[in-house]
């Protein structure tokens, strides 16, 4: 915007930006600050500062959330195609959970990823990190254009997430079964210090074969951590087949209950149900909470759905085209842009 245009909108008689902020966002404070900023530079400084410390706005509208999840799925197809390797089924299946977390449940500041008061989100099954990256980019942590660098040399978006590489990633993961213990450690430390934030951990169901995970389940149950919520991606598949064939986990709910956890079963593709379960978890103060999110691996793309063969492979060009078409047309319900 050049100086002339700026002066047209901001002058002695009016301040269109301040009015717009007040009218559209109902943010009187910011409007007041903008009215005080007389120059273009001063106004930019106010906005930068505001953005930097801005808490993520919680989105309640179900259609809007579904739309975000759909965009994240499209991002995933493009990312995996560009990367040429990676995990399709688990990432697509968790798009709704990550949308619920990043756009409603979590208290966080995308422009200030290390904000001390943030809710912590630990990812135990690091191989589904692309869905986290996509959700983070959509939430404003980094530009969407960076998503296509997934798994490339020099990228911050490592094949499995690294805490040291990308701000906002709480834990390095990939080797399975270690995420919950770390999340529980943070929850314990936060309780020691009377901190108010919550700790979330997402884990896969296959990785519950790991002893390290159950050690942490025992420990968190013993310590009755009220600020810890585990979200289990119950998609029933792992690399060698269905979980119940490879290493049966059922009765899963009863296992956690026996370990002194409060358990909530939820439809992992109903964003509202996921949000409600997370809110219920906050009200449980005497136990850690496990939310078993029943998901469909590959959700949103019919030829990937429920196929364990798609656990660890990306789509090729043709498959990606087909997948994107399905997502853009909501599986044929609406017309695609090229039809």
């Amino acid at each position: 915007m050049n100086a002339l245009v700026f002066r047209h909108h901001v002058n002695g008689k009016k301040n269109d930006f301040a009015n717009w902020v007040e009218g559209c966002f109902d943010d009187k404070n910011l409007a007041k600050k903008l009215r005080k900023a007389r120059s273009q530079k001063a106004m930019m400084d106010v906005l930068r500062k505001e953005l930097h410390t801005k808490q993520m706005v919680k989105i309640d509208d179900a259609n809007h959330l579904d739309e975000i999840a759909n965009f994240i799925r499209q991002d995933l197809i493009k990312m995996l195609l560009a990367a040429g390797s990676g995990h399709s089924a688990g990432t697509l299946g968790m798009a709704d959970v990550f949308t619920a977390l990043y756009f409603n449940v979590l208290n966080h500041r995308p422009r200030q990823p290390n904000w001390e008061g943030r809710d912590r989100l630990f990812l135990s099954n690091g191989h589904i990190t692309p869905v986290r990256y996509a959700a983070m980019a959509r939430a404003g942590y980094f530009p969407l254009s960076e998503l296509k660098t997934l798994r490339q040399f020099g990228t911050r978006l490592q094949g499995h997430p690294e805490r040291e590489k990308l701000p906002g990633v709480e834990n390095t993961s990939g080797p399975l079964g270690s995420g919950l213990a770390q999340a529980a450690g943070v929850a314990y430390g936060a309780r020691m210090d009377g901190k108010r934030f919550n700790v979330y951990c997402i884990c896969g169901d296959g990785e519950m074969d790991e002893g390290n995970h159950w050690e942490a389940v025992l420990w968190a149950g013993k310590n009755a951590l009220p600020n810890l919520t585990l979200i289990i991606d119950r998609n029933n598949i792992q690399i060698d087949g269905f979980t119940e064939d490879v290493m049966p986990l059922e009765p899963l709910r009863e296992k956690y209950e026996a370990f002194r956890w409060h358990v909530i079963d939820v439809d992992g593709h109903s964003i509202q149900s996921i949000i409600d379960a997370c809110n219920e978890a906050l009200s449980v103060r005497e136990q850690p909470v496990a939310i078993i999110a029943h998901t469909i691996p590959g959700k949103g793309v019919d030829f990937i759905e429920n196929k364990f063969e798609w656990h660890g492979k990306p789509p090729n060009k043709e498959e990606a085209k087909k997948a994107l078409h399905q997502l853009r047309t909501l599986a044929g319900k609406i017309q695609g842009e090229h039809e």
Binding site: R120, F122, E162, R163, E164, E170, N171, T172, S173, G174, P175, G177, S178, A181, Q182, A183, A184, G185, V186, A187, Y188, G189, A190, M192, G211, N212, E215, A216, L218, W219, K222
Partner: protein, 326 residues
């Protein structure tokens, strides 16, 4: 040809010296460090007493955390606490931690780059009657292969105490190994100590003995015994990673021959680290006093140290051998 004054070793070094296990240095060092830094917490895996955490647990009950018999959880819960902002000391027997949880240490401490302090007790064959399963002899090798990891093996109570106190101030993961059995106290409270710096405890011109743990005492005794015959320099190399290259290379430039001495497997430990350094910078002959690629067994600590070649006479034999190769 004499003990270096700057090192401030105990006065009666070659006579009767007091003895204490290095694990006592951990227990006392931890409590004193924790008094100064509220972020310090300690975690243990059902071995509170023998890992010398009892004093800490009594003094700071709210900061002592029981992990149960679960070394993988011990380390990963600790790593979580470290990401949050605590300085966690996790301890068990070295055979179990880091023995059982190497990958967890690699990923959640070193790759995460958080200040997790891994304290391995009961390292070496001097554990005694418990036998091979409980005698960690591979921990230096496994820990020093991990990037970001500092590895320290103190020689006596005071070195152990100082290593623990100083480790709290270093914003990095670190592994420190301690022994179960009493070992001679060769340094004093005032002896200089810094993680990452090798200390020359005795100067000499013919051979450099680089030792860590209880072998530092044996090396000093060996040097004394053959002082008329061979002039031996003794370096206490408590920090195996990162090595104090300057001190070590300066000494080897002078002597031209090296003996390494450690209560650890011959492969991958202090001897390996020193050999790597010399191969790249000053290829001098090296003899190693170490456990020769085999497991320990039950027995009284002194009998085992004798049987596994960890005594003064073994150091002397290695010195004589290396001198001939010069």
């Amino acid at each position: 040809m004499s003990v270096v004054k700057a090192a401030h070793l105990v006065r009666n070094l070659y006579g009767e010296v007091k003895q204490r296990p290095t694990r006592d240095g951990y227990g006392d060092g931890l409590v004193d460090a924790a008094k100064k830094d509220k972020r310090i917490v300690a975690l243990c895996a059902d071995l509170t007493d023998s890992t010398r955490n009892a004093k800490f647990a009594k003094e700071f009950p709210d900061r002592f955390i029981e992990a149960g018999i679960a070394e993988q959880a011990l380390v990963t819960i600790g790593a979580g606490l470290a990401t949050y902002g605590k300085i966690p000391y996790v301890s068990s027997y070295a055979a179990f931690c880091p023995g059982r949880c190497w990958e967890q240490i690699r990923t959640t401490a070193s790759l995460n780059n958080v200040p997790l302090k891994v304290m391995g007790m009961h390292a070496g064959i001097s554990v005694g009657p418990d036998g091979a399963t409980h005698q960690a002899l591979e921990d230096i090798a496994t820990m020093r292969s991990i990037p970001n990891m500092i590895v320290v093996a103190p020689a006596d109570y005071h070195e152990a105490y100082k290593a623990v106190v100083e480790s709290a101030k270093i914003d990095s993961p670190i592994y420190i190994r301690f022994g179960r059995d009493k070992v001679p106290i060769i340094t004093t409270e005032k002896s200089p100590f810094r993680i990452g710096r090798a200390e020359v405890y005795r100067t000499g011109k013919d051979v450099t003995v680089v030792a860590c743990g209880p072998l530092v005492y044996e090396a000093l005794m060996a040097a004394k015994e053959i002082e008329g015959e061979i002039d031996v320099e003794v370096i206490s190399n408590h920090t195996i990673k990162p090595l104090d290259q300057k001190t070590l290379l300066k000494s080897v430039k002078k002597t031209g021959a090296v003996v390494t001495a450690e209560e650890h497997q011959v492969n991958g430990g202090l001897g390996g680290a020193i050999s790597e350094l010399l191969a790249k910078n000053n290829p001098a002959p090296v003899e190693m006093v170490a456990v020769m690629d085999r497991f320990g067994e039950s027995g009284p600590p002194d009998v085992l140290m004798e049987a596994f070649g960890m005594k003064k006479k073994d150091v002397i034999a290695a010195i004589r051998k290396v001198v001939k190769r010069k």
